[in-house]
Amino acid sequence: MSVRNLKGSGRWWALAGCLLWLAFTFFPLYWVAITSFKSPLGVVGGPTYIPFVDFDPTLTAWSELLSGARGQFYNTFIASTIVGLSASVLATFIGSMAAYALVRFTFEVKLLSGVIFVVVAFGGYLLGRHVLGYGQAMSLIWAFVAALALAIGSSRIKLPGPLLGNDDIVFWFVSQRMFPPIVAAFALFLMYTEMGKMGFKLVDTYTGLTFAYIAFSLPIVIWLMRDFFAALPVEVEEAAMVDNVPSWRIFFGIVLPMSKPGLIATFMITLAFVWNEFLFALFLTSSKWQTLPILVAGQNSQRGDEWWSISAAALVAIIPMVVMAGILSRFMRSGLLLGAIK
């Protein structure tokens, strides 16, 4: 008998509490599911709860939705799926590489180089925009390139000032999440518009949206995967190094296969984040690459109280993620997610 198990009446109180929470959790989901099968009359006539007893379920809402009478449903679903899957695959892959590097290799960045980067980027942008009279995009690109070149160059020569290590780099990545998304979304929209004027169409395109999602998922991916890689036994890699296996083959041939559970869990968390994301999609898409949350939110203003069709649309956005929750829960015991918060 472990000390951890509940005994006596406490056990039943805990069970009652959990059941109560379960009811609270599932009632809204149950409600949206049955509402999507109600007829218009069944909705307006006041709440009903049990199909076949309280009301006669119909497939009206679903057939309307699937036949495309309610907006470009298929397009949106496909766009959401393509953007979601590709952004999370790429973010997981690129982020894992960076996380692995931050766990196994030594990085040293001089604080002064970072300062140089920020100052040159700001100064160059202001100079190009307001003194030399370049457009926004041009001055930004030049300022960025110059800042990056100067920062890298300055890290080669001896500079005074403190050194930043791996932990500081990780902190920098994670701190990107603190920036209010509305600022990023709006500025990104303007940057994409400027790029569009130069011939690279980014607003309402696959590339633009996916790129933004990759960038905003990377902090989470690096944060999760770093702890996962750190928990892997280093001996295997050391043995491979003795045999002179190059680092990139160690990573792709040994480390990635070993961290499959972590990669899958991270991929799913990223996918859920991208799939449900609202603000960036609102700013960066208009019609062709609109994602499901925008379509669902749009139902609200367009259809007023047509709950049956709103429910069906909402369910399409919900169901794939609920299925994923079932799969994700299998990884919960692995302790992966604990590592993420230490």
């Binding site: 809204p28 680092s247 604990l338």
Partner: protein, 291 residues
């Protein structure tokens, strides 16, 4: 042990470049425009105004109203999430009957799109067609205007936040509880410590670091709230449930008042940073005491 190998640059640069490109532009752009008067509609040439936007914002009662609403929503929601989440995590950790099923199902709300959640909430809270008001009427309460009266609307938004994000707290705290060593509890049981004493004497202090991290993450994320409010009340009635992000959205995307929006975003960033620092400073002595 970390090692040194030129290949490390190949590993880290893709991520570094992408994040740099996407994060530096919003920063530069919004910081510079926050000191300018810039409107896109109707187009007015940019004019340098110094701290003009900031002082104008700080004198605008709407800004304080919005900041206050956001703070109320964030703090009450996170408190409830933490209390409920901790209780549920404790029950799951102590192997409540049916724990395996609960574990899976409690995760679900976290993965549902906030927009969809808000739409479902609107249906449930609807005064004539929703089930909640019918239930209330059955118990003899008056039919309540959940989304059209300020207090109830804020309450409704908070409930939706709690519904959606308590699973995150459960997930994190449960993972933390599972690493606590058994022997401390065995010793406490020998001393005849009551469950109440065990919780405040052992569990809570040992969970403090994880709790601090979880609450911190939730608090910062809660301040960014927009989609639920956008769909549920649209900020109404009036502007009484408007949050910081929604206010910025209205100013930026509806009025295209860019200088003002950028200044607002930076004030927002400052508010979040200050709250984060104060929060960590208050808790630091406790964290060190229990190390």
């Amino acid at each position: 042990m970390t090692r040194n190998d030129p290949v490390k640059h190949f590993f880290i640069w893709p991520a570094l470049l992408i994040v740099l490109v996407i994060s530096i532009f919003p920063l530069i752009y919004s910081l510079t425009t926050s000191f300018m008067s810039l409107r896109l509609v109707p187009p007015i040439p940019a004019r340098f105004v110094g701290f003009g936007n900031y002082t104008e914002l700080l004198q605008n009662p709407r800004f304080w109203n919005v900041a206050w609403t956001t703070t109320i929503i964030a703090f009450i929601a996170v408190t409830l999430q933490y209390v409920i989440g901790f209780s549920v995590a404790l029950a799951l950790n102590r192997r409540v009957p049916g724990e395996g099923l609960f574990r899976v199902s409690f995760l679900v709300p976290m993965l549902v799109a906030p927009v969809a959640v808000a739409l479902v909430a609107r249906q449930i809270l609807n005064p004539t067609m929703g089930p909640l008001n019918e239930l209330m009427t059955a118990f003899g309460f008056p039919n309540l205007p959940f989304l059209t009266q300020t207090r109830w609307a804020i309450g409704a938004i908070i409930s939706v936040e709690v519904w959606q994000w308590t699973p995150f707290v459960i997930l994190m705290l449960l993972a933390g509880l599972q690493t606590l060593p058994d022997d401390v509890y065995e010793a406490a049981a020998l001393e005849n410590a009551s469950p109440w004493q065990q919780f405040w004497g052992i569990t809570f202090p040992m969970m403090l670091p994880i709790s601090v991290a979880v609450v911190f993450i939730r608090l910062i994320e809660s301040y960014k709230i927009i989609d639920t409010v956008f769909v549920m009340t649209g900020g109404g009635p009036g502007i009484s449930t408007e949050t910081l992000t929604l206010f910025a959205y209205q100013e930026g995307f509806k009025k295209f008042n860019l200088g003002y929006t950028s200044a607002l975003s930076f004030l927002f960033l400052i508010v979040i940073t200050v709250i984060g620092l104060v929060y960590l400073a208050i808790l630091k002595p406790y964290l060190e005491k229990h190390k």
